[in-house]
């Protein structure tokens, strides 16, 4: 899982996401009715439902929430991996720059050795 690199070489920090974006992103694929903008509409939408239908809906939602928990745990793991990868990329970047700097500093000496050999 290697992070996106910008042209200058350092990994790009992913754009920060709000909690609602993360939640809706996951929940949207599981149970769109439980997305934050849909929940307030529930009351009106189901005002005429029977107790059986209500119970069935509750069970559907509970299942969706469980599924969300599973997906969210997976999402956290992916983010974790991205952060680890980013750490490595950032270190590589400065390491590379330091090596370049050292090579530059050594160049005059190396060429002076070369000219005497």
């Amino acid at each position: 899982m290697s992070p996106v690199q910008n042209p200058a070489g350092i990994p790009v920090i992913p754009a920060p996401k709000s909690g609602a974006e993360v939640y809706n992103g996951i929940m949207g694929t599981i149970e769109p009715e439980l997305m934050t903008d849909q929940i307030p509409l529930m009351k009106e939408k189901y005002k005429d439902e029977t107790p059986e239908q209500k119970k069935a809906r509750g069970q559907r939602y509970a299942k969706a929430m469980e599924e969300y928990d599973r997906c969210y745990a997976q999402y956290l793991q992916e983010q974790d991996a991205k952060v680890r990868s980013f750490k490595i990329g950032a270190i590589h970047y400065v390491e590379e720059r330091a090596s370049q700097r050292d090579r530059k500093m050594m160049q005059p000496f190396e060429s002076s050795f070369g000219s005497h050999s």
Binding site: N6, A8, G9, I10, V12, I13, P14, P16, K17, S18, G19, A20, V22, Y23, M27, L34, T36, I39, P40, M42, K43, Y46, P51, E52, K54, K55, R57, G58, Q59, Y61, A62, M65, E66, Y68, Y72, L76, Q79, D80, V83, R84, F86, K87, I88, A90, I91, Y93, V94, E95, R97, A98, S99, D102
Partner: protein
Amino acid sequence: MLFHSPFNFFRENRRVFVDKPGAMPEVTDTQKQKAAEVINALQETLKADPDAAGAIAEFKVEEADKDAKKFQEAYHTALKNAANAYYKSLAAEDDDQAKVEKINDLFKAAKAPVAFQLAGSELVIAPEAPEEKGEKGRVLSATEKQFIAEAFPKPKEAASAERVLKAMQKGSPQLKVAETVYKTFIDLPLAEKQAVLNNPQSRQKFLNALTPEGRQFMAQLSQDLEASSKELSEDELEEIEENARNFLKKKKFDVSKASEMEKNLMLAQLQMRGIDTSGGEEILKDPSKLKAFKGSPMERGFNQIMGLITLVLLYIQKMKDMFKPKEKKSPEAPAEDKNKKGSEALSPEKEAMRQKLKEQMKSKTGAVLLSERETKRTGIQNQIKTTNNLKGKTDDESKVAYEARKGELPQLTQEEAQLSQEIAMLQEMKKETETQKSTLTAGKDALVSYLKQPNAKAKIPNGDQIRENLEKVSFTLNDRYELCIRNITGDAVDPAVLNVLSGNVRIRSGITGIDHFAIDDQGVLKQPENLQTLFRQLLEGFRAEVKTDEPPHPAAAPAVASAPAGASPAAPASPKS
């Protein structure tokens, strides 16, 4: 390899969030676990009440928000670590400021979204607004800066130490003592300094060598540092308050139109967001009065957990309120029932019908009553249909028959309507009890699984015994469409089981309702938690549905249970009966 030694950490496989970022209110693992347990309980509630989805979603959004912030913080920390590694490789060159500029140039060229500044001996990410607002106190001397840099290698500690030292008055006796301590420390050889910082015995030796005032100063400094590092900064407090105001705005909450329940739900949600809600609904009327809850990290975490628990209790209360009109049948309740509005209240006619049916169910099962009425209604409907069919016919026989029957039509229609109402009422009574049964069963199951957890076993005296006995009971509908408690096999419940449960569980009332839940006298749980919630729900279920309606001894249950629930009526009523 230039970075060999500073980069050891990059081979580490540890989790990203070992340390909590300073901006987050620190919640302990136990508190987190409690919150998770409460959420699990709420998810159980969801099965019976889909309206609880809103609260759960909010919690999950909140959780995702916190995690997203932690990830951003982790990215910044990674950049900071890289910058510090580069900084150390520049050791032989330039002065400190020049090095910082060089690093900032390097990261700027790489389009990193941060800039760095020195704090002690380490680079930290510079705040976006370079000027620190409200900086109080005096300017620190070079010795003090050196002391901070050497004695507090961690940036957060260094920042806290700086705040504490800056607060000391110039020329004060306390500052003079402090200066002696700095000097003593700074003059130590490097190895000894390291030992003082890392080895408790060397630290004690260092402290013993100080004057009594010096020791007192160090003790005070440690105390101040601890308090200072745990306090929320002004920015953090403002952020919490701003988030809560935005939340209120987003919800378009109108306090003038909100019911008491809605106000309490909103207050609980604000409390979950770290707001001090002790002022009650005043903060809802005027959101500018919203203030973040101040206190130690544990107190702040507890305040949030309390908000969550209150929210859960309120949702359960809301759910129970939905059941109320059907439960309140006792003679002391009618005045309250009359005051109920809309669908919650039963009309006097319906109330009378319900009582009549309950009375009839003492001699016949609910199923029999339902079946009798359905059969009778079908007969009447057939009679009405037959009479109406005769109406259009032209033969003499039909005309005579219609004339003879038409006088019965109004009465038959009225009877049919009455029967339909009674059938609907019987079906409703059954469904209500079934819903209550599933709610209580879900609560019982969640409680049993909670009591199976190792931490619950350690915490709850007799937890295993309670769990074992809970596992022996089940909720069922009796033939009168009432909720009752039975053995798990459906037989009469063993009185000993109920004795264990009621002997181990007590509920105590406080100012805010039931605020203590006790298991045995020694095991008072001082904090409400999901266990309390579920037991409360469960026991209220026992009380409201079983103990008031059933004879005091559970052994009486089999008499009712023995009547076959699905038995058909002995003889179908004739259409004309």
